[in-house]
Symmetry: C2
Subunit: 174 residues, 2 copies
């Protein structure tokens, strides 16, 4: 699909058909996602692919009981490898670069999902300690987003609007 069309068509999908995506498609989407830039090309992202129903149910519970988190085909948990970034860049790597780099990869992933005719949602609202425990995520790795992926229902609405760009623009100084 044309790039601009993909950007315009993408919005958060929270309702999926009961139909599985093949694993190969998920891997192809992740292969695109890791083309994101990263500070020093350190690539401080980690992806946990969750298909097990019980794991998905636990994660939906950790995500403040958002049911659609469990009702997807594949749930990808995108993590920032803070330990890796901070080895080179110290606190700025830990707090900033690792988060921004995985976020960039997630954005490509979400666009790729739209391009593939699939739907997803960036779920950031979850109890981090619970997610850590469910997925056995060690210190130094931070779960940043739960991304449920599935086939969207045909009627999926239009997504929320945006503030005018003008409100967000500044010239030469803030």
């Amino acid at each position: 699909m044309d790039f601009i069309e993909v950007v315009k068509k993408r919005f958060s999908i929270r309702s999926f058909k009961d139909k599985k995506i093949d694993d190969e498609t998920i891997l192809e989407l992740l292969e695109l996602a890791i083309r994101a830039p990263s500070a020093g090309n350190i690539q401080p992202w980690e992806f946990i692919i969750v298909k097990d129903r019980e794991q998905k149910e636990k994660l939906a519970h950790a995500a403040l009981n958002q049911r659609f988190v469990a009702e997807c085909s594949h749930l990808i948990v995108a993590c920032a490898n803070q330990e890796l970034s901070s080895r080179v860049y110290g606190p700025r790597g830990w707090d900033l670069y690792s988060i921004q780099d995985v976020s960039a990869a997630i954005m490509i992933l979400l666009l790729g999902i739209t391009n593939a005719g699939l739907g997803a949602c960036w779920v950031g609202a979850f109890r981090e300690s619970m997610v850590r425990e469910i997925l056995k995520i060690p210190q130094g790795i931070k779960p940043v987003a739960l991304i449920p992926i599935g086939y969207p229902h045909d009627f999926v609405g239009k997504g929320p609007g945006r503030k005018s760009l003008k409100e967000k623009l500044h010239y030469e100084i803030y």
Copy 2:
């Protein structure tokens, strides 16, 4: 351009032709960028467009003397409005959501730049206090990236490689 082609063609450009981009193109690119998702649709991004040569020189100096930062057509400074995100989400909004949301917008911006036949680089290495002073950025707003944009030189190389996806994948648990 096809979405997948854009993702594959995008890499960091650090050398620009001495040719100006028209302002309208920059605004169109930013209009696409703000279609990024954000926690609670809060849209905690702010963009400072810098064209003034003297401002660009100062910012290049703050960016550890990376000369290409001054030698672009337009320099966009993407900021996270931490104050805005934290009003709703507290510390998680300040530390995580505002950073991830602006990073998602930056990623669309970079892809849009490639799609438009232009080049850019996500510059994260800069002295934050200097950038704050040059651009009069208040507390609660965090400059996340300097993004110099210009027409790339015809010969621009291929960008660095990536680690194998396998190294970054985990199944069911970390």
